[in-house]
Amino acid sequence: MSMDLSISRFWRKKEIIYKLNGAKCKSCGKVHYPPKNACPYCGSRELELVELPRRGKLISYTTIYAIPEGARHQSPIYYGLIDLGVTKITAELTDIVNANSLKKDMEVEATLRKTQEDRDAGLIYYVLKFRPVLVQK
C-alpha cells in the first residue's frame, strides 16, 4: 500500500484494505491482490472479488526507516512478501519486536491496525497487517 493516503482514495479501497479482498480471474483462474482492472497473467477483464486466506508464510521482508509523518512513531516499518497459497501479497508486518525473529516460512496472520494518521486532528487509516501467528496449527 502506498504511504501517501488521501480520504477519498482510502475510502474507495476500504473493501480491499479491511477485508483482504483479492481478484480471481474467471478466464485463467489465477488470483491477484490488490485487484486490478485486468488479470495481470492473461489480460482478461472477467474478474470476481474473493476473500484471501488470513494466514500465510513470510517469503521475505524489507525494513523501512524513511517513514511518512503520519506513521513516524511506528518506525521502523517491516514490509513483508507473504505467500497466501492462492497468491503472494505485500503487506506491513506488525508486533515485530526484533527483526532477527523474521525468518523465511514463518507463519503470519492478518489483523487490523493503524497504518497512518493525518496529524492530531485528521483521519486515522486502518489496514490489515500481518503478525506472527498467535496459535500454531
Binding site: Y18, H73, Q74, D95, V97, L112, T115, R119, Y126, L134
Partner: protein
Amino acid sequence: MATPKAGIHGWGAYIPIYRLPLSDIAKIWGWHPDQYKGLAVESKAIAGPDEDSLTMGYEAAYNAIKRSKIEPKKISAIFFGTESKPYAVKPSATIIGEALGITPFTMASDLEFACRAASEGMRSLIGMAASGLIDYGLAIGSDTAQANPGDVLEFTAASGAAAFVIGRTSNASAIIEDSVTFVTDTPDFWRRASQPYPLHGEGFTGEPAYFYHIENAVKALLERNGLKPSDFDYAIFHQPNGKFPVKVGQDLGFNMDQMKDGLVTPMIGNTYNASALMGLARVLDKAKPGQKILLAPFGSGAGSDAYLITVTDEVENRKPLAPTVEDYLNRKVLIDYASYAKSRSIIHVIK
C-alpha cells in the same frame, strides 16, 4: 415475573503483546518500591504504536464471531464500549462493523459509562434479542486506558478487549438467565471532555463507588432468583486492581475457588471496559456445561450490573474455534517505560 432471556453465542478476547513491569513505573516516578505491591498486579498490557481501542476491539469481535458460528451479516447491532475512543466524534462501531463484514443494515454506536459501557451494551442486546428485534448483536469492551503519568492510576491502566455475540437462547454457548443494573451519581472518577487523563475523587473510589454498587447489584440479583453464593461455580467482578475483586467477592460470600479463573488483572492490569468481560471470556474458555456464573462489571460515575449465566452443552463446540485468553496471556514481550511512553503518546510530539 418472567425475565427475558438471551444467549451468549460467541466470546472473544484480545490482549496486546507488550507488558510493562510495574517496578519500572515505580522506578521512573520515584515511588516507594513497595507502593504498588498492595495492588496485586505485577505488569500491565500495553497496546503497540499501531494499536488503539478500535483495532483491539476488532480482534476480540473477530474471535467472538468465529465462536458464534454465524455469518457476520446476521449481526444487526454493534455496541462498542470504551473510554478511549480513537475519535471523539466518528463511531468506532461502524469501522469495526465494516471491517468485519457486518454492515450496512446495522445499529451501531459507541457507548460511554467509564468501565461498564460495554456491559450496558450487553444489557441492551439481551432485551433486543429476547424481544425479537434482532437475531444477533455484538457487544465489545475495549480500552487503551489512560492515566496521568506519575498518578497512582498509572500502575494499573492497561490495554485489552473482550467481545460477545448475543442472540436468542437456542443453540447458545451460555444463557443469560437474569441481570440487574444499579447506578447512582457518584464522583469517584471522571475525565472532562477535552482532557487527556482522568481524575479520581479521593475517598470515593473504594467503598462508596466500587463496593457499594457491585454489592447492591449482586445482592438484588441473588435475592430475586433465590440464590446464594455457593450456588455458583464462578464469580467474576470488575478488576481495577488485583485486590478489590477478591475483597468484594469475599464480602459477598464467594471464595477464591470461584473467583480465581475470572481474575485477569493480576497478569495484565485493568483493561477498563474489558476488565470483568475478559474474566468472563476466560471462564467460558474453561467452563463446563451446566455450570453457573456470576458476572458483575462496574463503571465509575457510578454503576454495576450483575448477571446470572448458565453454561450450555454447546460451549464445548465453541471453545476451539478461536484463541483463548490464555493464548494471549502467554504471548508477551516485556518493554521499558520509554517504549510505553512512546507507544501510548505520553511523549508530546508537535505535528
